[in-house]
């Protein structure tokens, strides 16, 4: 099992969500984060002009079986892409085990009914 964590543009979230759902990735979790990177935004507040490097982003977390890793990443890479600075990153890491709280089961099977 793998965990995919993608940090993407807020404006791309709806597209990514729909692309994921239509690629049979039916479960995931996301939350708002602040990203610091090369992007900059110009701001003014009460006469102080400044450029902030803190950009609002969405972090999506998907845990999937190994065979689904490739296609899922492809979907995200394709849909979240604009080509401009600030597109974000995808991080992949290992997950040892997964439990379904509803059924109490664990292991690969929990992620199987995905489809």
């Amino acid at each position: 099992m793998k965990k995919i964590e993608a940090i993407i543009r807020k404006t791309k979230f709806e597209d990514v969500k729909e692309a994921l759902l239509s690629s049979d990735i039916n479960w995931f979790e996301y939350h708002d984060v602040h990203g610091i990177g090369q992007s900059r935004q110009e701001r003014i507040y009460r006469g102080v002009q400044y450029s902030t490097d803190v950009i609002e982003r969405v972090a999506i977390t998907i845990v999937c079986r190994d065979i689904f890793l490739e296609p899922t990443i492809k979907v995200i890479l394709r849909v979240a892409h604009t080509g401009e600075i600030g597109d974000g990153r995808i991080f992949v890491s290992d997950v040892i085990d997964t439990y379904s709280i509803r059924t109490g089961e664990n292991g690969d099977t929990v992620l199987r009914d995905k489809k």
Partner: protein
């Protein structure tokens, strides 16, 4: 006694002006609450700026266009900041303020329908135009003594219908004009990105703060107690004090009936009473009663409120689901449709000359012709204006700005930090 009576009338008028001014934050909060937080600064700014433009332009020019003489009942002379032409008993400065806040109300209605995607600079252009001539000219026809209100027995209206057009506080003049312009603006802009799916189905874009929107509606409701009763422009003497009391009562009953109608319709239709529509329902009742609040009975007011509250739900659905016009706050239904409805129903339910009370269809005809002319004027101006802006400069922000929010790109600041 007369001397002090005029003073009392002045106080009443100024109080009403304060209350109508107070509707500005009502509109601002309503619009801000019904839209997404990424555009809130832009929305607040628009609502400040249209009052600013409105106040200045109406003072310098619009007031004269509206109340000045000449022009065969079509348009007055611009006053260029000079108020001496006005000959009424009430102090002209107070009267100017009173009329200014009505003009600004008309201007601000449009903002909501065009929210979340309009270029700020182009909104300024639009806003200037409505305060400069669109509103003052049709205002001249009616409140300014123009052709729709010419009571001379040989006037066009009197000789055709035996009655003049009546719009007590502006269902037609203020609200329907705002509503029609809102609709046209929304058409020219096109829907917000993501509002309609590829299948053409309307999607919900929930407002970010219904508490603000609710406060906005309460503020508007309060302001309407200046808008309608204040339009009597007098409180002294038995006739006037009964009139303002009557108007106060009908205004409140219509608001209440409108809200209740909408609540129960949504309850039946969707299984749940919807706050987001009930808020509009209250406003629908208020807009509807505004034309005839002095002429209809309390029960008539309840009827107008109920009709507006019911029609509202279907109108919003029709404009959204069938016409695919994206009006984030429902301004075209609330102010446009219900403004027209209220004006027309006054012709039916007026206790002194309405068709349902056996006075024949003359007055009803006058109301229909009046609202038709006024809204055709608004529509024509809107078409020219928004078409022109669109061609010359573009009305809408880039997709990217729309996605990331107007606040950052247009104003460089965010509302919530």
């Amino acid at each position: 006694m007369n001397e002090i009576g005029i003073s009392l009338d002045t106080v009443w008028m100024l109080l009403a002006a304060i209350l109508v001014f107070w509707m500005q934050p009502g509109f601002a909060l309503c619009e801000a609450g019904f839209t997404r937080s990424k555009n809130t600064v832009n929305i607040l700014m628009k609502n400040f700026v249209d009052f600013m433009f409105g106040s200045l332009l109406f003072f310098f020019v619009g007031f004269g266009f509206m109340f000045g003489s000449e022009g065969a009942g079509f348009i007055g002379m611009p006053n260029w900041g000079d108020l001496s032409f006005y000959k009424g008993e009430l102090p002209v400065e107070g009267f100017l303020i009173f009329e200014t806040v009505f003009c600004a109300t008309s201007a601000t209605i449009v903002s909501g329908a065009m929210a979340e995607r309009t270029k700020f600079s182009m909104y300024l252009v639009y806003s200037a135009c409505i305060s400069l001539f669109i509103y003052p000219i049709e205002g001249h026809w009616t409140w300014g003594g123009g052709w729709l209100c010419n009571e001379a027995s040989d006037s066009f209206m009197m000789s055709t219908f035996g009655d003049v057009f009546h719009d007590f506080a502006g269902s037609a003049i203020v609200h329907s004009v705002g509503g029609v312009l809102a609709l046209i603006g929304a058409i020219f802009l096109g829907p917000r990105r993501g509002k309609y799916g590829k299948d053409g189905k309307s999607r919900a874009i929930p407002g970010h703060n219904l508490a603000l929107a609710s406060l906005g509606v309460f503020i508007l409701w309060m302001g309407w107690f200046g808008f309608n009763p204040g339009s009597q422009l007098a409180a002294s003497g038995e006739v006037n004090r009964i009139a303002i009391s009557h108007v106060f009562l009908t205004t409140n009953l219509a608001a209440v009936a409108g809200g209740m109608a909408t609540m129960f319709v949504t309850w039946i239709k969707y299984g749940k009473p919807s706050l987001s529509l009930t808020l509009n329902g209250v406003l629908a009742g208020l807009v509807g009663i505004t034309a005839g609040c002095d002429l209809v009975s309390p029960v008539g007011a309840v009827i107008i409120g109920l009709v507006c509250g019911i029609v509202l739900v279907y109108s919003i659905e029709f404009i959204d689901h069938c016409l695919h016009i994206d009006d984030p706050v429902g301004a075209s239904s609330v102010h446009g449709v219900c403004g027209i409805l209220g004006t027309v129903m006054t012709g039916l339910l007026s206790t002194s000359n309405g068709a349902f009370y056996g006075y024949g269809w003359g007055f009803f005809g006058a109301e229909c012709l009046g609202i038709l002319c006024i809204d055709l004027w608004a529509a024509a101006c809107g078409l020219v204006l928004f078409y022109g802006i669109k061609k010359l400069h573009g009305l809408r922000v880039d997709a990217r700005i729309e996605d990331e929010g107007l606040d950052i790109y247009e104003h460089g600041e965010t509302c919530y930090n």
